[in-house]
């Protein structure tokens, strides 16, 4: 622990490699403490609407567990399924010595000033763990909510899918409609053990002047599957992330799907890196992005370290209503016998597609909107229907802005 904080302190002014530099002094961690809610329906209507839009099912029906954090405090934890552990990270650190083997082990505290901030000034976060052999079939939902204006929310999450387990998590991050600006820093560490399956779907619904820095990394053991989905279709000032996954065991698979829509004056810089360290590992990174007046960088990096690995990277971007699109696909093969490929495209909506739909009776606007929704509507295998429905819902909500 001391070591973590000492390292972090040294990095407290270290700028990040990507994204605009944020002055942490512009934000404050001071906020009034929040009351714990037994029933999410007791939430103020305005907050309730925002977290529903971010994918939270208030009724908690068809959800294995629920975790809600407002600003710095955990306000609700609901647990409905045995075999699932869901507690705040602070309680988990108090309760479990073994957690030190996971805490700051995938993400270093001194990567940059953002990890340093979380390491030295942790607000809270969660530990979600599927116990060995347990299949948690209903999704676990969590929401990290910023309620107070000019707040910085520092979160650390750890997700562990123990051997032969299966778990699906949906994390909706949102801000209250009163928040003009804020900063969310989230560190998440993923551990997918032997033959386990983890899907992690993040739907972000920030305010238009909110800044977001997430730092996440994970490891997948033999035969494991990690599915990492990131959806951000509403305006945000600046979001930058570059999650990394290490495929350590034979037959391990990682797949990333990113769906982004920019907004005027906004910056999104989203990458994804998978390091294939064992034979017969597979990786796929797919991103679909629409500038919609904003500036977007879609980065992807696949690193094949041993023979017999297979990986593919696809960044498709549409420049729509202005903005810029920067696609940066990278492949590194460190040995013979790797099979890696990428496709990247930056373009506009094809005129012949618009006219084809118009000849079926759609107006030009209807045709464009149908094509855009189709473009964003990427098929994600292995994702439960409830979560697919949440992604469709997010795309549906965003259509007015596109």
């Amino acid at each position: 622990m001391l070591d973590v904080k000492a390292k972090a302190k040294e990095a407290k002014d270290k700028k990040a490699k990507f994204g605009i530099d944020i002055d942490l002094n512009e934000f404050s961690s001071e906020t009034e403490s929040k009351e714990y809610l037994e029933d999410l329906n007791a939430m103020p209507q305005d907050d309730k609407e925002r977290i529903i839009m971010a994918g939270v099912d208030i009724s908690e029906k068809d959800r294995a567990g629920t975790f809600i954090q407002e600003d710095t405090d955990v306000v609700h934890i609901g647990l409905k399924q045995e075999g699932l552990e869901l507690i705040s990270i602070k309680d988990a650190l108090d309760r479990y010595d073994w957690l030190q083997d996971y805490y700051w082990k995938m993400v270093a505290p001194d990567i940059d000033k953002y990890t340093a901030e979380v390491a030295t000034n942790l607000h809270n976060g969660y530990l979600i763990r599927a116990l060995p052999g347990k299949k948690v079939l209903f999704p676990v939902q969590s929401c990290l909510y910023i309620k107070k204006d000019r707040m910085n929310q520092n979160v650390h999450n750890i997700v562990i899918a123990e051997e032969d387990s299966e778990i699906h998590i949906i994390t909706g991050c949102a801000t209250s409609s009163h928040v003009t600006t804020g900063l969310h820093i989230g560190v998440t560490e993923f551990y997918v053990k032997k033959n386990a399956k983890l899907s992690y779907t993040m739907i972000h619904l920030w305010g238009k002047d909110v800044m977001v820095r997430t730092r996440s990394a994970g490891t997948v053991d033999k035969g494991g599957l990690f599915l990492n989905n990131y959806i951000c279709l509403s305006p945000v000032k600046s979001v930058q992330a570059y999650p990394t996954t290490y495929l350590k065991g034979k037959g391990a698979t990682a797949r990333y799907y990113t769906i982004l829509a920019g907004s005027p004056g906004g910056e999104m810089d989203i990458g994804g890196r998978v390091v294939l360290q064992e034979t017969d590992t597979h990786a796929e990174i797919i991103s679909r992005t629409i500038t919609n007046g904003g500036n977007i960088a879609a980065r992807g990096d696949l690193i094949g370290e041993v023979p017999g690995v297979k990986a593919h990277l696809e960044c498709s971007g549409l420049i729509l209503n202005g903005g810029t699109m920067h696609a940066v696909p990278e492949l590194t093969g460190k040995t013979e016998g790797v099979e890696m490929s990428h496709e990247a495209s930056v373009g506009k909506i094809a005129q012949d597609e618009i006219l084809y739909l118009m000849s079926r009776g759609l107006s030009e606007d209807e045709a464009v909107s149908a094509i855009v929704r189709g473009f964003l509507n990427v098929d994600i295998p292995d994702l439960p229907a409830e979560l697919k429905a949440e992604i469709d819902h997010a795309i549906e909500l965003s259509k007015n802005g596109l």
Partner: protein, 251 residues
């Protein structure tokens, strides 16, 4: 009724159609022949309203309304529809959703797809990886949902396998009210008299003539309508002496 008067059309810098005069009366179906590059598809695209086909002279009327300047979606709304030879693929739009968007009113998409032996494709992205014949059946399905009064078919038989040929032919006949189904109690004569659908069909093989009685055959040659007479007669003539010789009789 579709009326075309002295139509002249440019695609880019190239003049693709000249002096086109054509009249398809309500209930009539015409078959359009012509060698590759003669302007057949250009004529259909111009009637549909594709903006890259610039009308430099002449007018197009549909049911009395001058549609020469009408945008493509408006033409679709007043009852003009087209089955394409090579439509674009649109990723992320499922065929079922596409058919739904075509339909002006509620319709049973699954039942329609079953008739076309096409239910397996409803969950696939529209035209994505479809073979030539599958594209044609997908086009027919969309057009069936759209239910236009004037149906433009661009080589509906190309790429269709023998097994599906009669399915495609019979479907087109039914869509154009040319089928011989009298199950609703009307005689064929009554049926023909009340026919409202109009068709313009591009064909190279003449296959469609086995399924419908075309009211007229047309030959388009180097951008001009060179011949207009009985469709079967034209087809036989082209088969025997080729397009070049065939159009000589009208020159």
């Amino acid at each position: 009724m579709l009326q075309i008067e002295d139509l002249q059309v440019k695609l880019g810098e190239k003049e693709v159609l000249r002096h086109i005069n054509l009249e398809i009366k309500t209930g009539e179906t015409h078959v359009l022949f012509g060698p590759n590059g003669s302007g057949k598809t250009s004529l259909l695209m111009t009637i549909m309203g594709y903006p890259q086909y610039k009308v430099t002279k002449g007018r197009i009327y549909f049911n009395g309304q001058d549609i020469t300047e009408l945008p493509i979606s408006e033409r679709a709304k007043i009852g003009i529809g087209m089955s394409y030879q090579r439509p674009p693929t649109i990723k992320g739009i499922k065929t079922a959703h596409m058919v739904e968007m075509c339909a002006k009113k509620e319709c049973d998409i699954k039942a329609m797809a079953e008739k076309l032996n096409f239910t397996d494709f409803l969950d696939r992205d529209i035209n994505d990886g479809f073979s030539g014949g599958e594209i044609k059946r997908s086009e027919l399905l969309q057009l069936m949902a759209q239910d236009p009064q004037l149906l433009l078919f661009d080589e509906p038989e190309s790429g269709v396998d023998m097994e599906n040929m009669s399915l495609v032919g019979n479907t087109i006949a039914k869509m154009l009210e040319h089928d011989l189904d009298t199950s609703n109690g009307r005689t064929l004569k009554e049926k023909k008299a009340s026919r409202r659908k109009m068709g313009l069909i591009i064909t190279h093989t003449g296959f469609i003539l086995d399924y419908i009685t075309a009211d007229k055959g047309l030959v388009l040659y180097e951008g001009e309508l060179a011949c207009s007479t009985n469709a079967i007669e034209i087809f036989k003539c082209i088969n025997k002496v080729g397009y070049k010789e065939c159009v000589r009789c009208s020159m």
